[in-house]
Amino acid sequence: MTSRDRAFRGATAVVGIANTPFHKRGTATQSSAQLTLEAILAAAADAGIDAHDIDGFVSYANDDNEGLAIGAALGAKEIRWSTMVWGGGGGGVAAAVNAASAAVASGQADMVCVYRGISEADAGRQSYSKGHMGPLLSGHGVFAPAQICALRTQRMLEVDGVPASAMKALVQAAYHHAQNNPDAVAYGRPLDPAVYDDARWISEPLRLYDCSRENDAAGAVLVTTAERARELRQKPAYVLSGVQGAGPDWSESVENDLAYTSAGFHPAMVARLWEGAGVKPGEVDVVQVYENFSGPAVASLIDFGFVPKGPDAGRVMQFENLIAPHGSLPVNTAGGNIAEGFVHGFGLIVEAVRQIRGTSPNQVPDAALSLLLGGPMAPSVGATLFGSDAVL
């Protein structure tokens, strides 16, 4: 671990978390700004702080609501930090937490809010991919991230030999977990395996239930210093390490990305996450893995070494292994984008923190290391490892 890693590890913590309800897309009566403010106020209440004291704002994925405007609406006493993480897709979800932590760890702000809000009424359809589907794609009928991720997943299945059952297991685990989460869109709607198998094709090899679907909703989390976190009412979820970005020959290349069937978490990035936290992959208790689509989520778990490459992926990617409380690799314990709700992965941050607090709807007993993975097969990817005070 470098001296910079040591300075960053555990220097900050998430102290407030909130999601608004996950409204069916196009049905929210509030604008994305109103939903965002609702989430921020709820996160402040969760943390037990006055929202006027939030002094930094971070979002990602071309969020329509600029941090300064959100801060002005909140009547912030002073705004000291305002950042948008570049890169389409969900890669910014963990990177935004990392950016907030960097702001706090370096003393440039004290209470930074990470947020993301989507309301179809003002953000439009597919707000997650705005500006990323240029003519060399859309001229050929490729309009949606589903098709990009289908192309990459197809090669992962056909050439690497990852079995399609790995994707199904991930989706089944998500729906299973959602049955214990009253806030999840799939709550009370378990997924019959036969319905998964027989669902309509979206873009082969992805069927309907392999795909996340947008909601009108927002989420917010608050990041502050470790010292301040210990004074506040919630159990701190410390940020142990964070990584973001893109490897060689990756990003906006019209399918010329070098490690094509990877999720984009290249070996140097993965090594840096573990090195920064002083943790080995086998020690992680629970993983929230961004599933824009099931295939890229499987690729993420392979990139991080939780799941073997190729045909052997099917050995680990089994429903029993993926579920809390006792699976060997519990994933997406609130239901994830696919079954809890989609605000560009924001719910995954909230759930990663709940696992550290011990308040997940599907709690992994004594979870002390909780990993968040964002953005698979997108131009930018990122990860954040949260820890409890037990691992500091």
Binding site: L136, G141, Q147, A150, L151, S203, E204
Partner: protein, 246 residues
């Protein structure tokens, strides 16, 4: 009305299909929707494109199709021409329902996005297509092929990049068959196959395009394909590079 008979096709299905065609032509939406699998009504409605001013239907054929489905071919005629739909039927709980539908023959989608990007970076590629050539970005200084095009060479940072002609012959690197109508422009062309093609003539850079006749094709990664330049629909438009299995 006496239903036609078709070899290997249950008589009750032939009857249902005949009635379905007339309901479609008559704009009897309640009947048409009741014939669709309920979990895919939206996708089915936006998959096929009927002729303008549709007024009549003629059942051409029903035959046993793939995966235990039956394929029905119905010609719809309107004031603006005609269209043949191939609907695929499945029996669920004793009821025959449409589970897929498309226009035949299989034609590739043409979208309003077939033009140079706003920054003009790929303009030499599109202009090349107008002359019947595939042109891609190459750096003469370090011999690096770059795709998609960049403002400078990522290898040696040269700014004077060239656009040589590339032989449009390669191998399928990956593919997807898209069924979901992600844009109204693809209605009438669904499903269609998009291939990513690795080009030995361009340093194995990969280019993307629609595979012609891809609906029923046995598409495999590694298969050899050849490019064909499809002329623009109008003089202002740009041609498109399409692919065909060799």
């Amino acid at each position: 009305m006496t239903a036609k008979e078709f070899p290997g096709v249950p008589a009750d299905l032939a009857e249902v299909v005949e009635r379905h065609g007339h309901a479609v032509a008559a704009g009897d939406n309640a009947t048409v929707l009741a014939d669709f699998r309920p979990d895919r009504v939206g996708q089915l409605l936006a998959s096929a494109r009927p002729p303008e001013g549709m007024h009549s239907a003629e059942l051409l054929d029903v035959e046993p199709g793939p995966d235990g489905l039956f394929s029905a071919f119905i010609r719809y005629t309107g004031t603006g021409g005609e269209a043949v739909f191939r609907s695929r039927w499945i029996q669920l709980d004793g009821t025959w329902l449409v589970t897929q539908v498309r226009n035949v023959p299989d034609t590739p989608p043409r979208t309003s996005m077939a033009h140079p990007s706003d920054d003009g970076l790929d303009a030499p590629h599109w202009e090349g297509l107008r002359r019947g050539e595939l042109r891609m970005q190459h750096c003469p200084r370090c011999d690096r092929w770059t795709w998609s095009p960049r403002p400078i060479c990522p290898g040696c940072h040269a700014t004077d990049l060239e656009w040589p002609v590339v032989d449009p012959v390669g191998r399928i690197y990956s593919w997807t068959r898209t069924w979901q109508p992600f844009s109204p422009e693809v209605t009438g062309h669904l499903p269609y196959v998009v291939v990513v093609v690795e080009l030995p003539g361009a340093g194995n850079r990969r280019i993307l395009g629609v595979l012609l006749d891809g609906d029923g094709a046995d598409v495999r990664i590694g298969a050899e394909v050849k490019g064909e330049i499809e002329p623009a629909a109008d003089p202002e438009g740009y041609p498109l590079l399409r692919w065909r299995l060799v």
